[in-house]
């Protein structure tokens, strides 16, 4: 948990010697709390105080990095139970399971497809995070071959799944620089698995499905043995108990500051699902509450896209809607006779409109008004997208200089603003576009002579 200035102050020498370049220890502590300076700027801090500070300042849920060379993903370090309390920070990694019993050609095809998958939304590129390569054959050579087949085709994150430390060592040795997540140390193989993780400095999954007491014991033992990058596997794959277990683990970590459960959690929503549809619904629940790594049994674009969108929604900071700077944007390569459209600065709105303009074949000017990140109707209802504001933006950004025609196109949902806007913008013609951006192409075709 982040410490307050006062809490940090307690550990300082309290001599006000100014060697840190702050007038007092307290002033320094305040700056450390707000992350302006690092605690190391105080040369007189005792090693004991430093250790105590570090341990007290440790986040209640550890941040674990998956991947090394190539692609990296960070999971964990969440600080709240409900996103409205602050925000969720590190979206769960979405991995697709690859079994080493699959024919090599099938592995390659799946890996190529998942690796290449990228969908754009709100100007962001969304993609899958990697693969869980599973030693289903229980044969070490087959496992190594499958891992190599995957890494030959993709740089994405790897989780290696085998109960057998020998197979794990063989596979890990081949891809150690990629820092795969090793799944899993259990009661039965703990010593040997721990050695593999230590030797290659890889993060380790601790798996124990008989209960949280047993899981905590194993994770505590693991961290005491020097492996700190832990991911917990409580065997979460079931419709009835998933949210119970995930909630209990998250509450233990955040509300009780219970270290042994203060790690990201891996889940397997497809293991017991009767269909890909059921898998996606359980995965959706795991995204909302509270998985750190999700292993999927199926991959198809029509399922990946909604899941990635949900992940983006849930992990958006509720305090600040994703917004654009106000101004006149060029969509395509507009000319003086191209259309001039007006919209709001909520990114979702902007990208919906810009995307449709691009697809329409009519390059346009897009005037983005500052509506404090609100959508068209929300902004209108909140009084942040009215004729006066639009007219002001037209003038402020010299939209008139860009075009030769002096006409401006309003979103259809605020058709009511037309008359008022014509009054505000004398000499301008105000046109009303369709209510939905996807009909913009048809609208241009009917009304615009390019």
């Amino acid at each position: 948990m982040a410490l307050t200035g006062i809490e940090i102050y307690k550990f300082l020498p309290k001599t006000n010697c100014k060697k840190c370049n702050f007038p007092t220890c307290l002033a320094f502590a305040m700056k450390v709390a707000s992350r302006v300076v690092d605690i190391s700027a105080c040369p007189d801090l005792s090693p004991e105080s430093r250790a105590a500070l570090e341990s007290a300042g440790r986040p209640p849920i550890r941040l674990v990095t998956l991947g090394g060379d190539g692609h990296k993903v960070e999971v964990g370090n969440e600080t709240v139970l409900f996103r409205h309390e602050k925000t969720f920070y590190h979206p769960p990694a979405l991995l697709v399971r690859v079994k080493d019993t699959m024919p090599k050609a099938d592995i390659e095809k799946l890996v190529e497809e998942v690796d290449a998958y990228q969908v754009e939304r709100v100007g962001m590129k969304l993609s899958m995070d990697g693969f869980a390569v599973h030693n289903a054959s229980k044969d070490a050579d087959k496992f190594v071959q499958a891992v190599e087949a995957v890494t030959a085709k993709s740089n994405l994150v790897l989780m290696l799944m085998s109960e057998n430390p020998v197979a794990m060592e063989a596979a890990t040795a081949k891809v150690a620089s990629r820092k795969p997540l090793l799944h899993a140390a259990t009661k039965d193989n703990w010593n040997a698995m721990l050695e593999v993780a230590k030797k290659h400095a890889c993060p380790l999954v601790v798996r124990e499905t008989s209960g949280l007491n047993e899981l905590s014991d194993l994770s505590e033992k693991t961290s005491q043995a020097g492996v700190e990058d832990i991911v917990l596997d409580a065997g979460i794959n079931d419709f009835r108990s998933s949210v119970d277990l995930l909630t209990q683990i998250r509450r233990q970590a955040l509300k009780k500051n219970f270290r042994p459960l203060g790690y990201p959690v891996v889940t397997f929503p497809g293991e017991l699902a009767a269909s890909a549809d059921e898998e996606v619904l359980l995965a959706a629940q795991h995204i909302a509450k509270y998985a750190g790594v999700i292993v999927l049994e199926h991959f198809s674009p029509a399922v990946a896209y909604p899941l990635l969108t949900l992940r983006l929604n849930i992990y958006t900071d509720p305090q600040k809607p994703i917004q654009m700077a106000a101004g006149v944007y060029e969509v395509g390569a507009p000319k003086a006779e191209s259309p001039l459209c007006v919209t709001t600065n909520f990114s979702l709105t902007y990208f919906s409109v810009a995307g449709e303009i691009e697809a329409s074949g009519f390059p346009s000017w897009l005037l983005v008004c500052d509506t404090e990140g609100l959508s068209v109707l929300t902004a209108w209802a909140a009084g942040k997208f009215d004729a006066e504001r639009i007219a002001k933006a037209v003038k402020q950004f010299n939209a008139g200089d860009k075009v030769s025609h002096k006409s401006v196109i309003l979103p259809g949902k605020v058709a009511v603003l037309r008359g008022e806007l014509e009054d505000e913008l004398s000499g301008w013609k105000v046109l009303v576009g369709p209510p939905e951006a996807m009909d913009i192409g048809g609208f241009f075709k009917r009304t615009w002579k390019a």
Binding site: F82, R83, H84, Y117, Q118, V119, E120, R121, L212, N213, E214, S216, D217, E220, F239, R240, S241, V243, D244, T247, Q248, R251, Q252, K255, K256, F258, P260, L261, A274, S275, D277, E278, V280, L281, L282, A284, Q285, A288, K289, S300, P301, A302, V303, A304, Y305, P306, L307, T309, L310, L312, N313, I314, T316, P318, L348, A359, A381, E436, A437, M438
Partner: protein
């Protein structure tokens, strides 16, 4: 061995139980939870969330071809549509009196009575009727429906802050449940419940519609407002403890991901599957944050969502 204490919260409030139907009709009770959605270790979900199917009184003009082919000719008759909805497993039929909208036909009380009569005699499930969301027309058609459905405890909506008195009065007179709709805002939701109670509606005769944002189109706002409403209720606020209804199908199928049949990126995948999953994931997201009734459109979504609710609550 570490003894991990189970972190149980001591909630003082619980979600109200609201009954729809009865009196000869089948009934459904929603609400009653005394903990967060789907948590079993610290409380009970007295009633599993219900799935409603949306039916319209007029054949929709702009629905996805996938919805049109799923329902076929039933789209032309609200009675036939409701019957098919029952066959597909609806717990509740949600009837939108769309034709009363001034731009959709501007039909009035007599047509609304006819629709209500058809639906009520076609199925014995509980029914919710909503108007076109235009104040004067809502009042006209809902009062008419209220009369036809007298005693059958249907849901009537939408009550909004500026227009709730007439609908509230007719709910009280005929023993119905008021649907209180507010635009994704916790205080407005609470305020409207208070207003409805002030005019005499019983708190257990109110359902809240906190407004649904579809996946990718505001879902996160609905999600958090519903979660906050649910938490406030569990902490003992009796004016936020009404069960919630979400119009998932209507919002989800109106988005480009479901609507556009061509010229979309290849990475969007198969159109039918994408549309179904879009609706299902919207439903699941909102069920996770506290929805007690999700109103859906596609029969396959209904089956998938019901199957998962069953597994999560058994």
């Amino acid at each position: 061995m570490a003894a991990v204490e189970v972190p149980v919260e001591k909630w003082t409030g619980k979600i109200r139980e609201v009954k729809l139907g009865g009196n000869g009709r089948k009934s459904v009770v929603v609400g009653g939870a005394n903990t967060l959605p789907f948590l079993c270790f610290e409380g009970v979900q007295a009633h599993r969330p219900a799935v409603a199917i949306e039916v319209r009184d007029k054949e929709p003009r702009d629905w996805s071809p996938h919805l049109v082919s799923a329902w076929g000719d039933a789209l032309k008759s609200p009675g036939a549509w409701a019957k098919k909805a029952a066959e597909y497993g609806a717990d509740i039929v949600y009837v939108r009196l769309a034709s009363a909208h001034p731009e959709e036909g501007n039909t009035g009380a007599s047509e609304a009575k006819k629709t209500a009569g058809e639906v009520l005699s076609a199925v014995d499930l509980p029914v919710i009727f909503v108007g076109p969301d235009v104040a004067e027309k809502d009042n006209e058609v809902l009062v008419a429906v209220s009369d036809v459905a007298k005693g059958q405890r249907v849901g009537l909506g939408n009550c909004v802050e500026k227009n709730h008195k007439t609908i509230a009065a007719t709910c009280i007179a005929d023993g119905h449940v008021a649907i209180a709709k507010t635009p994704i805002e916790i205080n407005l939701a609470k305020q409207l419940n208070i207003l409805l109670c002030d005019v005499g509606v019983q708190p257990d005769s109110i359902l809240m519609d906190p407004t649904t944002g579809a996946l990718g189109y505001g879902l996160e706002y609905s999600y958090s407002v519903m979660e906050r409403l649910r938490l406030a209720a569990l902490m003992g606020d009796g004016m936020t403890s009404m069960p919630m209804v979400c119009t998932v199908g209507e919002e989800s199928w109106r988005q480009k991901e479901s609507k556009a049949t061509s010229d979309v990126p290849k990475v969007w995948g198969d159109h039918l599957q994408r549309s179904l999953v879009w609706e299902e994931v919207t439903a699941m997201g909102l069920l996770t944050s506290g929805a007690d009734i999700v109103v859906l459109r596609h029969p396959r979504t209904v089956a998938a969502v019901k199957a998962v609710i069953d597994k999560m609550t058994k």
